[in-house]
Amino acid sequence: MNDADAALDDAALDDADAALDGNAIAGLLASVFGADMTMAVGTCGSCGAVSVVAELVVYLTELGAVVRCRSCESVLMVFVSIRGITCVDLMGLASLT
């Protein structure tokens, strides 16, 4: 594969690379919940899929962090920091233990 092909491949991959996982918000979760949450088990309220938080899909936008189910892509958690206060919405989860 030559440089040009590789560069095009990289550009396509960059788009796919926007999605991270629960590891990326480990610090945020710890500051909100008071403990490491990457091994906490979440159940999707839409499709019932069960996953450790570390393996959920995370989108880090400058407006907030959006956590989605890896199976059905439903929004499970949203974290928004406004004026130094972090607002957490867990309504997409059926449970988090």
Partner: protein
């Protein structure tokens, strides 16, 4: 002391840059001095926060490069359009201050009694937490067999090459160079695919444990490939770095 340690993990602490070392033209390791560092586990990361004199703050996560028991160090890859990585890899000098939160992460961690055999798969700077795992293994005298499959754009982009060229007993390093290769290169020269995994990975029957770290597309491709080779999904641990993540 335990209370202090817990607090330190959850709140921002001031760190001072100690020594800096360029690993490659794009990558630098920074030793960080933290007054009450509670120690860390191999595979964990820290959140770093920079503050400009107008109050603007930027936060990023970086994997810890050093092993438990060693002083805190992070390895940062400079992204051309980045905001934090150019500062950390080019501007930050010994004595400069910023903030750290952590260590964090209880999922992508390895201890000797976690066992193996281990398959470590690194895409680019994804090698950083896996390097901490390798150093921890060496420091504890663990004999768990390890294969590190390390995908890098070119030989010049390989991080920690001086250490990886002399792996410890029981550690095998397999490189694949995806963009350019040195003359007379006889190793893999393409992105990791199922065929390469089939040739490199421990057979599923040996009960291996995999740690896969790098850009999301790399992690998805490798994790899917390993599951396809019979690795139980629960034995494949993943940590995704975005293109802009670090």
């Amino acid at each position: 002391m335990a209370g202090t340690a817990v607090r330190g993990r959850l709140t921002w602490q001031t760190v001072t840059v100690g020594t800096v070392m360029d690993e490659t033209p794009q990558v630098r390791t920074l030793a960080l001095s933290v007054p009450d560092w509670p120690g860390h586990r191999a595979g964990q990361h820290v959140d770093i926060r920079l503050t400009a004199d107008d109050g603007y703050q930027a936060e990023r996560a970086y994997s810890i490069a050093s092993a438990p028991g060693e002083p805190l160090a992070i390895t940062v890859e400079r992204l051309d359009n980045g905001e934090v990585s150019p500062y950390l890899t080019q501007d930050a000098q010994p004595g400069d201050e910023f903030e750290v939160r952590g260590p964090v992460g209880g999922y992508f961690v390895w201890e000797p009694d976690t066992g193996g055999p281990l398959l470590l798969a690194a895409g680019g700077s994804g090698v950083v937490p896996l390097h901490a795992i390798l150093r921890h293994r060496a420091r504890t005298g663990s004999t768990v067999p390890v294969k590190l499959l390390y995908s890098s754009r070119s030989w010049e982009d390989v991080i920690y090459s001086s250490e990886l060229d002399f792996p410890a007993n029981g550690v095998e390093v397999i490189y694949t160079l995806t963009r350019s290769q040195p003359r007379a290169w006889k190793g893999y020269a393409r992105r990791v695919d199922e065929q390469m995994l089939a040739e490199v990975a421990w057979p599923a029957g040996q009960g291996p444990l995999a740690y896969v770290c790098g850009p999301t597309s790399f992690v998805e491709s490798v994790a899917t490939g390993l599951v396809g080779l019979g690795y139980p999904a629960g034995r494949v641990k993943t940590e995704r770095f975005g293109a802009t993540g670090q």
